[in-house]
Amino acid sequence: MAGAAVLERLTSRAPITWRVATVLEVVDETPTARTLVLDVPGWPGHRAGQHVDVRLTAEDGYQAQRSYSIASAPETPELAITVQVVPDGEVSPYLVEEVRPGDQLELRGPIGGFFTWRVEDGGPLLLVGGGSGLAPLMAMLRHRAARGSTVDTRLLASARTIRDALYRDELETLGPRDGLRVAWTLTRETPPGWDGFTGRVDAEKLAAVAPPPAAAPRCFVCGPTPFVEAVADLLVRAGHDPRAIHAERFGPTGS
């Protein structure tokens, strides 16, 4: 794309400025992850898959910033982020364990434009999420649901145990069911009677869930770095176009 066209596109966007967000609701998703539902006056809207920067300010003026994927659909007026506690983290334990409704924090965005999907982009769609990497993929699924889209969509979600599986109840009821297939794999421990996958995402699980490479699915992979590295490599080896593989990694120090 020519430089001038990019600059024109950029200057037509709303500036990415800090806004004060108020916590409307906290939802305990798992023992170590919580969703914050936020009211953000003046929010310019987002695309599913984008993220926000959150800034906290201590009483002495010390500030800390972190990035979190947006989990809510663009069609929902409130903004939701799901935060996983990083052991010994600086910000995530505060957001998961301390914050309560009525609290305020600063937020800016939306940020990122590559790891995004709109119904208009079409499918088929392959979503592969590890741990809280499910959050931006959930935004895509909620967007699909809000728009009543029946685009062929496959989700392969990986969690350590059933207790760590994010959004599981909602995923079971999320419509339209036409064209939507949700598969879980549990890597550490399975409950009695578990009929999903067990163990890490591998070539067999991907082949069972994913549309064939010939169907040219748009692939979105999000999770911890080793998870994303492994899944993206498997997809390339299975014959998927590297350019169709969108990756979002968060590192061990995401905190």
């Binding site: 794309m1 020519a2 430089g3 990019v6 600059l7 596109r9 950029l10 966007r13 500036p15 990415i16 400025t17 800090w18 004060v20 920067d53 800034r55 906290l56 300010t57 201590a58 009483e59 010390y62 500030q63 800390a64 910033q65 972190r66 990035s67 600086e90 505060y94 301390e98 609290d103 305020q104 924090l105 600063e106 940020i111 990122g112 434009g113 590559f114 790891f115 770095t225 590295e229 993206a232 490599d233 997809l235 390339v236 590297p242 350019r243 593989i245 969108h246 990756a247 990694r249 968060f250 590192g251 061990p252 120090t253 995401g254 905190s255």
Partner: protein
């Protein structure tokens, strides 16, 4: 005044000079990975580094030719736009000054291009004057593919997305051409000390 985050104390690093941490950054001792797609893997016998664009004749080096050039080892602090900073990282590679030596050009900008299709733009002067390298060794070991190996651009005075992984060449350009993240709303220049994260900063 920003709202006070009730009960938030944060964590300061008493053992680190705060003057080394740009605004909005936090210190990490890990080496997080950020890339938009799969990690490309190019065999070294097919690897080359090129300088093209506004230059009379394209310059190109094979892997062995690059390693035969004068090597520099530098210890620098790096700052990722996703908020982490890592101090005293040690890299070995070839200075862009060496690669650009004697080049006459009208260009004022460069676009770095990479395996996997990634690009990023920088002012030409920012990759000269001992401020940019093609780095192939990190902490005394060959640079891991997930961190950009076999070789990445290293421009530590800018946010780390400018230090393009899997770099294969730079194109000298007259006009400024926003690269991959710059086209998605990240800052065109990306100075961490002025907290130039996004285009409107």
């Amino acid at each position: 005044m920003p709202p006070i985050s009730r009960g938030f104390r944060g964590r300061r690093h008493a053992d680190v000079d705060p003057a080394r941490i740009p605004p909005g950054q936090y210190l990490t001792t890990d080496f997080p990975v950020l890339s938009a797609g799969p990690t490309p893997r190019t065999p070294l016998d097919r690897w080359t580094f090129s300088i093209d664009g506004e230059i009379d004749e394209v310059r190109r080096w094979t892997w062995d030719e690059l390693l035969a050039l004068p090597q520099e080892t530098v210890t620098v602090d790096i700052h990722c736009v996703t908020k982490w900073s890592k101090l005293d990282t040690e890299w070995t590679g070839v200075s862009l000054d060496t690669l650009l030596d004697g080049v006459e050009t009208e260009a004022e900008h460069v676009v770095a291009w990479c395996d996997g299709g990634y690009t990023t733009n920088l002012p030409l002067e920012d990759v000269m004057g001992g401020r940019a390298w093609i780095a192939h060794t990190y902490g005394g070991e060959p640079l891991e593919p997930e961190h950009g190996g076999p070789a990445r651009l290293l421009v530590p005075h800018l946010y780390f997305w400018k230090s393009a992984k899997w770099v294969r060449g730079i194109t000298l350009t007259i006009e400024d051409r926003p690269g991959f993240w710059e086209g998605y709303g990240y800052h065109n220049y990306g100075d961490p000390w002025r907290e130039q994260r996004y285009w409107s900063d």
